[in-house]
Symmetry: C2
């Protein structure tokens, strides 16, 4: 049982951006800071933008920042939104073919366990896991990219309308 | 986030064997009843034998049965034992390379959520999910295999000593 890389990276990206409220961050520097895939981060940035958790600014000095206060970003909500597959067992999925479906009590028990998992995550927000600069030396070693930020456009544009920006 | 096929199949196998306490069951009939892989079930039978949850009998009319009462088989214990990968995020694994390790509060929060998940499963045993024959028609349609049971031998032999068989 593992969370997908998408969820793992989404959490790290939010932690990085949330730890630098005074400026825009770029995908390149986040990728460099963690040593992870820039391509994956582009997809995640797009998703987080659609959800209204980050907003992006185009241009040579563009980048991204949180679109709301870290306290407003529930970790449970991030898992629910980014973890595309919460079908813990076959019978949770639409293409289920288990012959026990409809009569099996196991699925309800596993469903209950998943709810406990998510409820625990709901008790925390991004504010609870932010690292400030003084405790995040590897992040400060990251260099700003030489090229303009490569943030996916398209549908994410809607999320760019600044709604309730309260930098932590 | 998904449980592995091994855990899913282990639960189904235990449910099937537990629903037929009056006789030995074979891997072939379990595979046929659920329409799942016999090879996978052989590996799972071996694991469940090592854990002392099932015992196997060799020979032409051999097969397997529960080695203890269904009430003694905790669903949480089955998940812990059969789910070989409970490293929900990279930093839970020995080969972790995340630069935040040791300073990140997210891992403890996810670890707490996993504990909630498992504690919920600990509250149930195989007895809570058994289907009796009257509610399990597809299982009764399964045919006994024509060849002798193909249960893995080797280390599993130790588990074959009948310890406390209390057929449900």
């Amino acid at each position: 049982m593992r969370l997908t890389t998408m969820t793992d990276y989404a959490m790290r990206l939010l932690m990085y951006v949330g730890a630098h409220p005074e400026r825009l961050c770029t995908i390149s520097e986040v990728a460099q800071a963690y040593g992870i895939s820039e391509t994956h981060l582009m997809k995640i940035t797009h998703q987080l933008g659609l959800r209204g958790w980050i907003e992006t600014v185009r241009g040579k000095n563009g980048g991204m920042r949180l679109a709301t206060a870290p306290e407003n970003i529930s970790l449970g909500a991030v898992v629910r939104d980014i973890e595309h597959d919460l079908n813990l067992v076959e019978c949770f999925a639409p293409d289920n073919s288990c012959v026990l479906s409809g009569r099996c009590r196991l699925s309800a028990i596993i469903g209950g366990a998943l709810q406990r998992f998510l409820q625990h995550m709901d008790g925390y927000s991004l504010a609870d896991i932010l690292l400030d600069d003084s405790t995040a030396p590897p992040l400060r070693r990251a260099q700003a990219p030489k090229r303009p930020v490569a943030v996916p456009q398209g549908k994410a544009a809607g999320a760019r309308k600044r709604a309730s920006v309260k930098p932590g």
